[in-house]
């Protein structure tokens, strides 16, 4: 069985309620899922002996600006055993702007989630150290959101007093 079929079959069998949607673009397989299932799905993909997605390459988010579910959190994970990359996606709404952390699955996701939090304002539930990483702690905005202007907001960073 081809690996892509194996992954979709295994995920479909084990996560019936996760609202899985599979798609392919430029030979990359991506799976969209309900955000509540992100932690168990990642854990399963990492620990399954046939798949072994041991490397979490990247976590980021996309701001769609006008969609109902404004953000999509995107995970790129890699299976060294199979030389295969899988994309996981979970929609996050602006009004309920949080998703479970996967830092218990891969340690590297700690900083990557902090970066997403800093840049997009998406909170990661049960994250061990959710602080800003690039911007100063007192900065109120999230720079990679589409409504944040390219030139910044005057007065958003305190300047020396006259």
């Amino acid at each position: 069985m081809e690996l892509k079929e194996l992954i979709s079959q295994k995920l479909n069998d084990n996560f019936v309620d996760a609202e899985l949607e599979f798609s392919e673009f430029r030979y990359e397989l991506s799976v969209k899922l309900n955000k509540k299932f992100i932690n168990p799905v990642c854990k399963f993909l990492k620990e399954d002996p046939e798949l072994e997605f041991l490397l979490c390459e990247d976590i980021t988010a996309v701001d769609w600006a006008k969609r109902k579910n404004r953000f999509t959190v995107v995970y790129h994970i890699f299976s060294i055993k199979n030389s295969f990359r899988l994309v996981l996606k979970a929609d996050v709404d602006e009004n309920d702007c949080n998703i479970d952390t996967v830092s218990s699955v891969w340690k590297t996701s700690n900083w990557q989630e902090r970066e997403v939090f800093d840049m997009y304002g998406i909170k990661f539930n049960a994250h061990p150290d959710l602080r800003r990483i690039y911007m100063p702690e007192e900065f109120e905005y999230h720079p990679l959101r589409k409504d944040f202007p390219l030139l910044g907001i005057p007065g958003s960073l305190p300047l020396p007093k006259k």
Binding site: R26, L55, D58, T60, H76, I80, Y134, M135, E138, L150
Partner: protein, 416 residues
Amino acid sequence: MDRLTKDDVHPKILQRLLEDTDVTIEDALENEMILNMGPQHPATHGVLRLLLRLDGETVIGCVPDVGYLHRGYEKMAENMSYFEFIPHTDRLDYISPTANNVAWVLAVEKLAGIEVPVRAQYIRMIIAELARIASHLVAIGSFAMDVGALTVFLWTLREREKIMDIWDILCGARFTNSYTRIGGVANDAQPEALALVEKFIDEIDANLSECESLLNTNRIFIERLDGVGVISKEDALSYGFTGPNLRASGVGFDLRRATPYLQYDKVDFRIPTFTEGDSLARYFVRADEVRESAKIVKQCLQLMPKGEIKANLPKSVLPQKVEVYSKMEELIHDFMIVNFGINPPVGEVYHAIEGSKGELGFYIVSKGEGHPWKCKIRSPSFIHIQSLPHLVKGHMVSDVVAIIGSIDPIMGEADK
């Protein structure tokens, strides 16, 4: 001058300050000390700040603090065309700029579905491998300097200077090269540049051995690195290590083999791996990789065919400058591409190459416009710095310097 009062400082900062400087002075000998290392420390390889909690000279805790250099390149990428972003990739890992160019254009080409002529692919391989050699030479030299050996630094920079001379002829710039274009490279590799490449490759083995003879038999160098900053295979994978740092922990993972791009499946090379996972192993991997890269460049020079260096797609590939100035059709295409950009189809791709520091990846989301809707840079240095608390715990303050050098971070890349 007015003094700041408590009310002038943001409560969050105040809280952090109080947490960070948790020092009492009743009994100096029995208390822990907080040491701020950086952000301007010469051994932090850039603006990296480490908050160290010390018991005597032993590090018992560490909090890395990045972001001092953050220039918002991802935000900028969303506001400029795919071509315009090429020079900006140079400023990420500024020690191997051409490799970053290659990573970016490969990601865009994957998104737009552009096939590149074979000659251009070989030229890209040559510049990417030369960039790796240059980067490793700086890494080895500055690493040796961090632990007290200055001569090696001068010798490795002397070798790197030769690569910069090659870049000077190849693309007219020594430091920030911007040599690649979407669909190919800016201009064909000149015979004199290729002759310099060949000369450099023939000499690098002997010259590197000369540097190694200063280090590998040096008891101080070895003892300062052996068993320092050990990370196991499992931890390295969990921390997202890639590149030489991962291979020093015993995982033979290399994107040039795992997901071959360009013509890497046509050349023969070895993936150096060590199992110790300590600072010394990370140095050995880099030295071995220089030789393997030289081997790849040598094969590229032999395998490289003659022919086109840009894809024949006038609507998405910039024409040669000389033709823009003399032909109407080319002028129109140049105008259209520069002003309105290429419009790749709606979709999203992630493409990663094996950079000198590790996996350098670009994630691009396109809405069919001339500029990316979203661009994410997966930079290896950012990921590696995260593991510093794990690596330095239990070591001495002087070992921290060696450990930072051994993971070879570049802050331009970590802070994006």
